[in-house]
């Protein structure tokens, strides 16, 4: 991309380990002063910016936008790079007019303003949020990055009020077993959620990574269900209705259900099963012979990551990866494995074991269990990467 541009101010010659001279063009406008110690820098500002040398971008389609997993470090997704998936676009909601109504099988049907929600005792929690349709690795295309394959997962510190606190406030009646969560977007998104999840760890969140929620993540307030498929964490939340049965909305019948064996269709499959994915080295990176750190993310909707294993010989042998602490419940966990690449062609991959002893399966194992027609929901297979002798790294489709 850089080569051949008219605005090339300098050309650097770098020597790679393959003893091949490579020209690297550097565009003129990205070029700072020759010596930053001889010129005063920019003054303090009102809003921080990313370095102009960095280009971190989500990749949007008509219905979603993916997090650039391969470009990120640590476990927190910068809020502006959090993935997006919505069914009626991103609405504009005035926080001064925002209201959440809770009604149905409750003693006191109540309307809460945003200020009300913020007055309740608050809770902050670092959790991943993942779309259940987060696998695009079926096919023959090898030029896929982690962002392309499973970029519909991100992680934030979420702050809000526990739903159990609100449930107590309105007096949820004992016979209530499900609640409907409804958004105020153009899809007027609805999902039914078991009341037990509401009492367990569900939250109504209004902040993300220390700042108010981003519009794409549900500003000014959303439901957040730790460890569960993203669609159920209804954004732009306007209403909760308590009932003694699920509502059978379109999103929990026609969508977000998966055909399994014997002609059956699995419904209310909320929990995200454990997955790991290597984020470096992966397409489009090119590597060089010698030491490098294989890096990736692992998570489980059922609890903590217990262990991650890495193979550098196409799955013949597996090695324990190091987990970066703190290892949090229902949270992206960073793993690392030190590897000395000898320059020969190989395949690298990772697999996670969570605290329920679940072992991340291969795509073949998933399709064997569910049938070939299962579709695209809840696919969390081991993801492999082909390392070519020239250092190129490509996605290696399984079937």
């Amino acid at each position: 991309m850089l080569l051949g541009g008219a605005a090339t101010a300098a050309v650097a010659i770098t020597q790679t380990s393959f003893a091949k001279a490579v020209q690297i063009g550097i565009p003129e406008k990205a070029f700072g002063p020759d010596d930053p110690t001889k010129v005063p820098g920019a003054p303090p500002g009102e809003l921080g910016t990313r370095s102009k040398f960095e280009k971190l971008l989500k990749s949007p389609s008509e219905i979603s936008s993916r997090t650039p997993l391969q470009d990120l470090y640590g476990i927190i997704t910068p809020a502006d790079l959090h993935f997006e998936r919505h069914h009626g676009g991103v609405p504009v909601i005035d926080p001064a007019k925002y209201e959440l109504v809770i009604h149905g099988m409750v003693d006191k049907p109540t309307v809460f303003t945003l200020a009300d929600l913020k007055r309740f005792p608050s809770v902050s929690r670092i959790c991943f949020l993942e779309c259940s349709g987060n696998y695009r690795g079926r096919g023959t295309n090898q030029k896929l990055s982690p962002q392309d394959i499973c970029g519909l997962t991100s992680q934030s510190e979420w702050t809000g009020v526990l739903l159990s606190t609100l449930f107590r406030e309105v007096g949820v009646q004992p016979k209530a077993t499900w609640f409907l969560a409804e958004g105020s977007d153009a899809a007027v998104m609805t999902r039914s959620v078991p009341v037990s999840k509401g009492f367990d760890d569900a939250m109504i969140v209004y902040a993300q990574n220390g700042e108010p929620l981003r519009p794409e993540q549900g500003y000014p307030a959303r439901l957040f269900l730790p460890g569960w498929e993203g669609n159920a964490s209804v954004k732009w939340l306007r209403r909760l209705e308590l009932a003694d049965q699920p509502f059978m909305t379109r999103e929990e019948t026609s969508k977000y259900t998966e055909p399994i064996r014997n002609g059956k269709i699995r419904q209310f499959s909320f929990t995200i099963d454990a997955r790991s994915v290597i984020t470096y080295p992966t397409y489009p990176a090119t590597i060089q012979k010698g030491w490098l750190e294989i890096r990736g993310l692992a998570w489980s909707g059922r609890g903590k990551v217990r262990q991650v294993e890495v193979s550098t010989d196409n799955g013949k042998t597996w090695h324990l990866a190091q987990l970066q602490g703190p290892v949090l419940d229902k949270a992206h966990t960073r793993f690392r494995y030190l590897w000395q690449w000898n320059g020969s062609e190989t395949v690298i991959m990772s697999r996670v074991i969570d605290e329920t002893d679940y072992l991340q399966p291969t795509l073949r194992e998933l399709l064997t269990a569910r049938g070939a027609d299962t579709g695209g929901y809840h696919l969390n297979p081991i993801t492999a990467w082909e390392v070519k002798p020239n250092g190129q790294v490509l996605f290696r489709p399984e079937v």
Binding site: T110, V111, T113, T165, M248, R250, I265, A369
Partner: protein
């Protein structure tokens, strides 16, 4: 974990008072306790039964937003619709995204009409478990570019037409709050609850 005396003291005090005391108590009791000891769940011992926040929701304001329709028909409004009226509405407002017959799959909105009940391509006739969902969804979300623009009679008619096109009702049936919940969808029997539960077995 807050000492009993502290709990007694804060009962009856305002929320701010409670938080202050709770923080002091925790400082004394826990010292520099590691993060893992602090559960994400607050200690509710000292909490009031209610914080007294929010205001009562009136029946009128609930009715404005309470648009969901249950499988047993709860929530269906007055009004009714016919297959012929629905067909005309479909042709005028839906074909642009769902195709002339609804069986077209390479459309923006996707296929609505199943050509066979065992066909693997998801559509209303072979995949939707409840007819009431059709009314609920069309009324809240369709047409995509003008959601909420259809009258209840129009939604009943579009529901009737799509059920007829999927060979679930015949063309003379009138669809209303009484008849719609009685429509049995062929795919309902296929639906089973999630049976995944962690552990070694892949499901």
């Amino acid at each position: 974990m807050i000492p009993k005396t502290a709990c007694l003291k804060i009962l009856g005090a305002g929320l701010t008072g409670f938080l202050l005391v709770a923080v002091q108590a925790s400082d004394q009791a826990w010292g520099n306790s590691p993060v893992s000891e602090q559960s994400v769940k607050p200690d509710t011992l000292g909490w009031p039964a209610r914080f007294g926040l929010g205001r009562p929701a009136t029946a009128k304001e609930i009715a404005v937003v309470d648009i969901d329709v249950w499988p047993d028909g709860t929530g269906l409004p007055a009004g009714s619709g016919t297959v012929s009226a629905g067909k005309a509405l479909y042709t005028a407002q839906c074909t642009v995204c769902h195709g002339a017959t609804g069986t077209e799959s390479a459309t923006l909105g996707g296929r609505l009409v199943a050509t066979s009940l065992t066909g693997r391509e998801k559509a209303i006739g072979n995949y939707w478990p409840y007819a009431t969902t059709l009314f609920d969804y069309i009324r809240r979300a369709m047409p995509l570019t003008a959601p909420g623009s259809l009258s209840n009679d129009e939604v009943y008619s579009l529901t009737a037409f799509l059920l007829q096109a999927n060979q679930i009702i015949d063309s003379t049936v009138v669809i209303n709050a009484k008849t719609l919940p009685k429509v049995v969808m062929p795919a309902q029997k296929f639906f089973v609850p999630d049976d995944r539960k962690g552990g070694r077995e892949i499901r």
